[in-house]
């Protein structure tokens, strides 16, 4: 059985300028352990899809199931890594940020610190737990977000362009780390991006969306290459070209 099912999902926003369709008839199944990248041009509705799976927005049409049960509102079984770093708690240390979800669950102070320290190490920030978000670089903040989401042990990790604001080198380093973490934890990941190379480098499947408004699923490209991926290999190039052709048609359309 699929872990997450999106069945003909649509979302229409109603604003001052009238109704506006963000997503239309979007269907996609995610199996356990998959790494799916949702790729699309700016404004195609990919973030709206993620927000609906996270439970921040309710679909206007269709249904979203997690383990066969409909999604209603946000919950701890769906961890989210946000685009910016507004979501971190500035008044807490890095370690306490990671331990936040464990605190909500009423875990004891020692236990949650131990567990948080484990995930701090996993994202490569061992020993930096006492720092506050203001003292961390953009890349480090995104690592803290990833650790915070993982520490709560969700069924699926939802990542909304988490590396979009980072410089190219930091982004490449974090992509490599994410591949390693994904292999270690066996988490299911839904990853939003508009970067074709990023999508091909990280995912087991790339889901390409049509352009917005009212974007929907255009095609799914399986990327059957071993990890870590060699971005100069023929296989990578072929997958890149295939996805690029799909996206390019949307840009020119």
């Amino acid at each position: 059985m699929s872990l997450v099912v999106l069945d003909k999902v649509g979302k229409t926003f109603r604003g001052r300028t009238g109704a506006w369709e963000a997503v239309r008839g979007f269907s996609l199944d995610l199996a356990e352990g998959e790494f799916v990248c949702l790729l699309g041009t700016s404004g195609c509705g990919k973030t709206t899809v993620l927000n609906m799976v996270a439970g921040f927005e309710a679909p206007s049409a269709g249904r979203i199931l997690l383990d066969g049960a409909p999604v209603r509102g946000p919950g701890a079984e769906r961890g989210v890594v946000f685009q910016g770093h507004d979501s971190l708690y500035d008044w807490l240390s890095a370690l306490d940020n990671i331990a936040f979800g464990l605190r909500l669950r009423g875990l004891g102070r020692r236990q949650r610190r131990e567990r948080a320290a484990h995930f701090l190490g996993m994202v490569g920030l061992g020993g930096q737990g006492a720092k506050h978000p203001a003292e961390l670089s953009g890349g480090m903040k995104q690592r803290i977000q990833i650790a915070r989401a993982l520490a709560a042990d969700p069924r699926i990790l939802l990542m909304d362009e988490p590396f979009g604001a980072l410089d190219a080198m930091t982004r490449a380093a974090l992509q490599a780390e994410l591949t390693r973490i994904w292999a270690d934890t066996q988490k299911t990941v839904l990853f939003i991006t508009h970067d074709i190379e990023e999508a091909v480098a990280l995912s087991t499947r790339v889901a390409v969306m049509t352009r917005g408004p009212g974007g929907t699923l255009k095609a799914v490209v399986p990327v059957d290459l071993p990890f870590p991926r060699d971005r100069t290999s023929d296989g990578f190039m072929a997958a890149f070209r295939q996805v690029h052709a799909l996206i390019h048609a949307e840009i020119l359309a």
Partner: protein
């Protein structure tokens, strides 16, 4: 604390000392060379008079009387303002009902309320404490409500998808995130309190710095007037610094602008 921060602090303190020295120098020059009037005494005689007033215990008495009123009124005003501000910021219907109140009373300054206050509470402590509370409460309400409104949406969403209940979101996210603006509102309110206390004591009081100003005017003790003015300035400055330090201790580590 790192060496850089110690150096920054030292620069700040040196700057303050230099700034005050310059202020007194300008005062001295203006009084001795420009005004040359008994109505504008230079810092020297004012300081001498201050020493006399301290030796007689009069200055401390006035300062304590004023500070006690400010402290009491400020605490009452904040204790009412913070929860009301949190409620306005958190619940739409509460905002709809209470916003007319805050927007209405905000434009009636405490100074204008002195007459009503004296009629209601007499010339005792209550009228002054009421006025300070009055001048405090609306600023604190508005700042706190604005603080709640300014909490980043992703901070709340992040807590929700870590399993937070509504109460947990409020207690563990909204409240700490609002704290810096809450304290900033209290800092502004404290400045208002200093303005209000003098006006209130001018009109109706048996002690305090305002009363000292009033008496000095009656008996043409110009030095006393200046002692009271300088004391007010220094008190306000110190209290404001203390507030800034508190804000920095709570919030400064993630907001470099404060």
């Amino acid at each position: 604390m790192s060496g850089g921060r110690i150096r920054d602090r030292a620069f700040t303190v040196l700057g303050y000392l230099g700034g005050f020295a310059l202020l007194f120098l300008v005062w001295h020059v203006a009084a001795t060379w420009l005004a040359r009037s008994a109505l504008f005494p230079p810092p020297g005689p004012v300081l001498e008079r201050a020493v006399v007033l301290v030796e007689d215990g009069l200055l401390q008495e006035a300062v304590l009387a004023s500070l006690r009123r400010i402290g009491q009124g400020f605490l009452i005003g904040s204790a009412v303002g913070i929860p009301v501000g949190l409620a306005i910021g958190s619940f739409g219907p509460v905002r709809a009902v209470l916003e007319p109140w805050t927007e209405f009373f905000r434009f009636i300054p405490a100074v204008a309320m002195i007459t009503v206050s004296v009629i209601w509470f007499g010339i005792g402590e209550e009228s002054k404490v009421f006025l300070i509370a009055y001048t405090t409460v609306f600023v604190v309400i508005i700042a706190t409500a604005a603080g709640v409104g300014a909490v980043a949406r992703d901070k709340i969403r992040a807590a929700q998808c870590l399993g937070a209940s509504r109460l947990q979101v409020f207690a563990l996210v909204v409240l700490p995130a609002t704290l810096p603006l809450m304290l900033t509102g209290m800092r502004l309110a404290m400045a208002n309190a200093f303005v209000t206390i003098v006006a209130a004591e001018l009109v109706a009081s048996n002690d305090g710095l305002g009363k000292m100003l009033w008496d000095a005017r009656l008996f043409m003790q110009v030095e006393d007037i200046f002692v009271a003015l300088v004391t007010l300035g220094l008190l306000g400055f110190s209290v404001d610094r203390a507030f800034r330090l508190a804000i920095q201790a709570f919030a400064g580590r993630y907001n470099p602008t404060m």
